[in-house]
Point group: C2
Chain length 393, copies 2
Amino acid sequence: MLPPLAHRTSQVRGSAIRDLLTLTARDDVISLAGGLPAPELMPHRRIRDAASRAFDAAGVLQYSETSGVRRLRAVIAERETRRTGSPVDVASVVVTHGSQQALSLLGTVLIDPGDVVIVDAPAYTGALQVFAAAGAEIRAVPVDANGTDIDALEALLGTGVRPRIVHTVSNFHNPRGVTLSAGRRQGLADLADRYGFWMIEDDPYGEIWFDAPPPEPIHSDRVVRLGSASKILAPTLRVGWMTAPYPVAAAVELFKQGADLCGSSLTQTVAADLLDDTEWLDEHLGGLRRAYRSRCRALTGALTSAFGSSVEFDDPTGGMFVWAAFTDGTDTSAMLSTATDHGVAYVPGAAFGSEPAFGHAARLCFATVDESVAVEAVDRLYRAHQADVSASR
Amino acid sequence: MLPPLAHRTSQVRGSAIRDLLTLTARDDVISLAGGLPAPELMPHRRIRDAASRAFDAAGVLQYSETSGVRRLRAVIAERETRRTGSPVDVASVVVTHGSQQALSLLGTVLIDPGDVVIVDAPAYTGALQVFAAAGAEIRAVPVDANGTDIDALEALLGTGVRPRIVHTVSNFHNPRGVTLSAGRRQGLADLADRYGFWMIEDDPYGEIWFDAPPPEPIHSDRVVRLGSASKILAPTLRVGWMTAPYPVAAAVELFKQGADLCGSSLTQTVAADLLDDTEWLDEHLGGLRRAYRSRCRALTGALTSAFGSSVEFDDPTGGMFVWAAFTDGTDTSAMLSTATDHGVAYVPGAAFGSEPAFGHAARLCFATVDESVAVEAVDRLYRAHQADVSASR
């Protein structure tokens, strides 16, 4: 008999989405289920050229500093300074192995077992996994068309709940597709001051806006902002970052030493090269925004044409996701196998939280389907839904 | 006032070695303090070429599987099968972000707070950091010329101590420079059977043998073996791996999802390419072994010439480190500033554990100093020691 594992291994579930992706990864299935950026829109040649140049840099093969390659941290500090409108010091920047590692390390340095963490309903599943692994008591507040419902949060705080952290995806929410309004950002910062909690503004999608940039980031000295190169450049770089008040950044660096010593000099040098080339980056992002907007509109247009009022959604203004809610009682978990039989896959809303209404919703990712495929996907979804309705009569 | 951090942030110290490296990173100081492989011996052109080819592979820019790129896992399984002499299944291989991440994830999935973990004295500091962060009660057993003292371990177990894990660097120990004998490997496996603990065989240096390979890995179904591409190829790949009994591998994969989703397809594809090219790799390793052996002998020869019987060490038969113990009462922590004033740096033994004898020892890394520099380094160390002795009279 083998020795036992730690108790927490029996308390944490794997990502239902990852399991689902395995089931739906069939060539004849159009997947709206993944949360993957479009590979054909990634700057393949530019990354290859930058990698080739990176090999000329001294130290590119060696271990690097735990908090990240210096030039990349400087580029991120500059970008965040422009983005937030106030000076961001390099010392507050930590480069992480994707922004998921930033979340995970924040789970370690901010949460004691039993602490309350407030997430969105529906929530980013990677955040749920981290907070559960950290032993947090997880509470949720609803998200509507304007992002996290701050009145609901205030009401929850009014009942005596005292969170250590409030986590939200502020821009083009995963999975909800919406953006936190400017007024609510201020409201959230005010509540953080009043009740003394940390905010994690998780922002991997903020630069993928369609017609206009989202509101300014949350202004507060209690906010930790997370960003990522995965959605705008390529996931293979494994470059994410956090900007955080100095004590948090220092603690994260300390625990990153034990977690993995440091990131890759090679991929961090490539990321610095691309993020620092603002002229090229603006053009690249312009192309990405146009492509995702067009794919999104193809998908939402087809949804409206096919389903009319039996599916509701808030029109995304950026990002990668549509949150489609069936108004006719459709159980999206139950319908999934019919859908894959009809050649289309999505993530059932139940994967993102336990709210009963989520059982009628589906997260649809438009990033990887071009316009004609989006239309075909909705057509298959419509036929699956028809079959599902017939079967349940 | 900012909200608080988690309690554990006040319990874990940073790596004293990392802090030291910052202090000693002066151009006029020869550093024997780092644990870094020699950059000029890394296969720069071969890695660059492999990276260039990797960009032709489908999916190289995208997210990859959490447990690692399939081809790399297969290559590692083949290599471990050859190395251990018994079949290693791909399902038991998890690729990690350097072997430090493997250790960190094992801390998460194997240790409940308060569990006993037994380490070597002296110990690898990165392991101490992980086990402290996991809330383990850390005990230590001495290492002598034949590795971990299994009689001492048995005696400790005999007092009723029941560890969850026994961790050792089996080959060319960091910092002790010695190798666990074949008999002791068997003895350790027998104790694991009798007392029901996991063994972590941490083996980043095993392929850097000078004249003959080390004994076969520990044979047991309770052993988790860790390996790394950092010392034989390049740290920038951030490729380490573990082979583990299936329940451990599965739990590690689960928690790696939350830790960072996945590794880099690009650097994992490069690692697979190089590790799979056995003809090239054998030649590359042959060159690395000859170079490190020659550097090691230059250093140990100079130590003997300069210090005679006032410094003792076990001649390394591989790896990167000499553990030099002063027999004249020298306090290596106290002498360090004199040493850097004389233009040489090392890691004081006290960084590796609290045993009083370690206060007279120093870890000397010969990997990054060629023969003439090794001789010069020892000359500087000798003069620093003379100055230290004079000052303390």
